[in-house]
């Protein structure tokens, strides 16, 4: 294990220092009752801070323990979110066997495929495989009451909580086209170094090695995970969570026109645009930590955070339809994970495909 890159230290260290400050503020605000702040808002803020710490630690595992652990932890998060979603969704007796498959077969299979980097499998397992299977299994159970509605509800839950979220850890497994061409992975570096060591200098077969391999320090601290990719995942979660907070802040400051007043009166156009714009600026300022130039980073951040914030609106309407405030308050005593990660779920595939498809080829 070699020392991490300076960019990683700055990015992760910066976030931890920032979180530390936010925690101090949160604890201070909670203690000072004389500030006459809305206690519900203070409690909400406090819960958010706790979740950020958890997310931060979870992502830190990506750097330290490697991709299998990270994929596994995201898998557990998916299961928990799905558990909350299905608990909230009315299902009937006839759905029981189908639900068993959802929890114990499709969700684990999706994450195993991600961990093994079987893109051809995890990209279609749920949208095609589970889609067909669930429709058939529920029909076979013989209960036709609200059939279409039940199939759709379970499918949507699987798509949002499992399929979409799994694209976040999938960032760790795919190799950037730029890494193939320009900055070889540590394994490739080690191989080439071994080749160089074996052959005497001046041997003509060594001359076809591209000049980039003269870098001596390997770039990954764990052989399976490219540190650059782990940093990309960290960066992704950071900007999406940041956009969430900034949307809230802008909405509080300037919020006038709700996007859909019946769904969520607190989600306004001002908050949405402010959140996306300010998260984009922050992302552009942090572009040194990702393998993209400034303008690409900004475009990536704008698209990702816009979809992420819209995702919050989607889960709000699901909740509104079921007549609950939070997924967590459905059954008292459970914290709502889905409330915290809904924007990540929606943003993850957008980020993944932009990185993979569009920008991957244009890297400087």
């Amino acid at each position: 294990m070699s020392t991490p890159e300076a960019e990683t230290l700055w990015l992760v260290g910066g976030v931890i220092v920032l979180l530390g400050l936010v925690t101090l503020v949160s604890v201070y605000v909670k203690r000072r009752r004389d500030l006459a702040l809305d206690p519900a808002a203070v409690a909400q803020f406090h819960r958010r801070v706790v979740v950020w710490w958890i997310l931060c630690l979870l992502l830190a595992t990506a750097f330290v323990l490697g991709r299998y652990w990270t994929v596994g932890l995201f898998g557990l998060m998916s299961l928990r979110a799905l558990q909350e979603y299905i608990t909230l969704t009315p299902t009937r007796r006839g759905d029981h066997r189908a639900l068993f498959w959802v929890f114990f077969v499709f969700t684990p299979a999706q994450y195993v495929a991600v961990a093994l980097d079987r893109y051809e499998l995890y990209s279609i397992l749920i949208p095609v495989g589970a889609f067909l299977f669930l429709a058939i299994r529920i029909a076979m159970a013989g209960d036709y009451k609200n059939y279409l509605e039940r199939v759709a509800k379970i499918q949507v839950g699987l798509m949002i909580c499992v399929y979409c979220l799994s694209f976040a850890p999938a960032l760790l497994t795919r190799r950037l086209p730029s890494q193939v061409e320009q900055s070889p992975s540590s394994a490739a570096l080690a191989r080439q170094e071994a080749v160089q060591a074996q052959q005497p200098p001046g041997d003509p077969s060594a001359s076809d090695v591209p000049p980039t391999v003269t870098r001596t320090a390997p770039t990954a601290i764990w052989p399976e995970v490219h540190e650059e990719r782990a940093r990309l995942l960290f960066f992704f979660v950071l900007i999406v969570q940041l956009a969430d907070v900034l949307q809230y802040a802008w909405g509080r400051l300037l919020g006038q026109r709700p996007i859909a007043v019946d769904v969520s009166p607190s989600r306004t156009w001002e908050g949405f645009l402010g959140g996306v714009a300010s998260a984009t600026v922050v992302a552009a300022l942090l572009s040194w930590s990702v393998p993209f130039p400034v303008w690409q980073t900004a475009t990536l951040a704008a698209a990702t955070t816009a979809v992420g914030l819209a995702g919050g609106l989607v889960t709000s309407s699901v909740k509104r339809d079921r007549g609950v405030e939070d997924y967590g308050t459905l059954i008292t005593g459970h914290g709502g994970i889905l409330d915290r990660i809904d924007s990540l779920c929606f943003a993850a595939p957008v980020f993944f495909f932009l990185v993979q498809g569009a920008f991957g080829n244009w890297v400087h």
Binding site: L79, Q83, E84, I86, T87, T91, R93, H96, R97, L99, F100, F103, L330, I331, T332, G333, H334
Partner: protein
């Protein structure tokens, strides 16, 4: 009942933990605290897991002193169930098929608990299928009448019928919740019908808390 061995304690803890994970159960105590005093927990019955999950929701030292009352015909089938019922939950198995006059289940329960143990009972008598809470059977009344010192603690088990519905054998990990309410006793001069109605209302009240 002999003191549980080391292995039995380990199995009990493991089982309680697994039950809590699978059922996602959270326990709420409303106007009531876990206690090792002698109690009768009575709850609605919608799933095979009810007794196990309610038992698991209790703290370990209370759990050790609490014995579910269960149907003999279900728990004596197969050695796993028999082992669990006899050695782990120390369940009190009641024969639903032939109830003898001189060995009524209530007397059997009272004899078993002595002055030490608590009971878990499901006074509906059978698992109900719908949302509706069935009328309570009279056993609870006779328990309360013969042992007025027992605390009767109502409990409402929410959503567990979706975790493991009737006739299914594979549980689905949804979130469920157990709410314990304030203890009650048989009031002076209260008739059987009044008391059973009050007990049923006490369970129903917890549903909407």
């Amino acid at each position: 009942m002999a003191e549980p061995t080391w292995a039995q304690r380990a199995i009990a803890s493991l089982l309680a933990f697994t039950a809590r994970v699978i059922s996602g159960a959270s326990a709420r105590w409303v106007d009531c605290q876990p206690d090792t005093c002698q109690r009768v927990y009575f709850a609605n019955h919608t799933s095979h897991l009810d007794a196990l999950v309610l038992w698991s929701a209790l703290p370990a030292e209370v759990r050790r002193l609490t014995r579910p009352v269960a149907a003999r015909d279900y728990w004596e089938r197969g050695w796993v169930r028999r082992y669990l019922a006899n050695r782990i939950f120390h369940a009190l198995l009641i024969d639903r098929r032939n109830i003898k006059v001189h060995r009524s289940p209530v007397d059997e329960m009272l004899r078993t608990i002595g002055d030490r143990y608590s009971l878990i009972v499901f006074p509906e008598g059978h698992r109900n299928t719908g949302e509706e809470l069935a009328p309570f059977k009279s056993g609870l009344y006779y328990l309360a009448k013969k042992r007025p010192d027992l605390e009767l603690v109502p409990a409402y088990i929410d959503n567990l019928n979706r975790v493991l519905p009737r006739g299914e054998f594979l549980p689905v990990p949804l979130l469920s919740c157990i709410t314990f309410g304030p203890p009650m006793w048989l009031e002076h001069g209260e008739t059987k019908t009044e008391f059973l109605q009050r007990a049923r209302d006490a369970v129903l009240r917890l549903k909407n808390l």
